[in-house]
């Protein structure tokens, strides 16, 4: 034993033999389920949004710097690649927002019953799709 944490992993089996408690199985062992898929998507969208902060910072700094710098960032945002990124980030933001509210519900002790758990999971997916499409319809109309 090299670490105090190791002691928490040690247990005895029914024959009194000292064994290590099992760790979580690897992802590949489980059949994909709505619960695990939504969980990993929450993390993936969080990472994607973290990368998106680069654009937020670029946009703010460019706006504070000069007309040409601002034109540069606006040109990037307006390009097909920029629009594609923004579409992805908008979907990721809505997903992370809705799934985050679901997480806060759990933190407060609500929504753990399996039927409710699945309902809220599908609600997050449907809500993400609806809000993303709605946002881009509004953008298309305004622009």
């Amino acid at each position: 034993m090299t670490d105090i944490r190791d002691t928490l992993l040690v247990a005895q089996n029914s024959e009194g033999k000292r064994v290590l408690r099992p760790l979580s199985p690897h992802l590949q062992i489980y059949r994909p389920q709505i619960s695990s898929m939504l969980s990993i998507t929450h993390r993936a969208t969080g990472i994607a949004l973290s990368i998106g902060t680069l654009l937020l910072t670029w946009w703010l700094v460019a706006a504070a710097t000069s007309d040409s710098a601002f034109a540069g960032v606006q040109g990037f945002i307006g390009s097909w690649f920029g629009v594609l990124l923004l579409f992805g980030w908008s979907a990721a933001l809505y997903y992370h927002l809705l799934a985050g509210i679901r997480h806060l519900g759990w933190d407060a002790g609500y929504g753990f019953e399996i039927p409710r758990f699945h309902q809220t999971g599908y609600a997050v997916l449907i809500g993400t799709a609806v809000l993303t499409v709605l946002t881009w319809i509004v953008i298309a109309v305004v622009a």
Binding site: D3, L9, R43, L54, L60, G100
Partner: protein
Amino acid sequence: MARQPTSLPPTAMRSQLGRVRGLGSAGSGVEIWWAERVTSIALVPLSIWFIVAVIAHLGADRAAIARWIGQPVNTVLLLALVIATFRHMALGLQAVIEDYVHGELARMVSLLVMRGAAWVLGLASVVAVVKLAF
């Protein structure tokens, strides 16, 4: 660490109260967990406000953006959004790094680089907002 059964007694030399308080070698408890929740609650209204504001300013020129950011309410909300975003991001990425980056050195370097980037991007955003506002 070697993951083999040992001959030591299964009881750790640490009280249950100590475990619950989480006051381990890092000397801190559940503040990180709380900070992630508090920033997430703040970001619910702030990010919705920001999305609406961005759509309302599609195609606006730099002067119009500066005017909008210059209104005190918008300055405050935008600074709150930026600070909560980068704090929340750093906490979330910390959990990801701690889960997936193995090895003491690699983990420490990843955390330092990530936190450094979060600070620099966050400060740059704050300075930009303040400069636009005044």
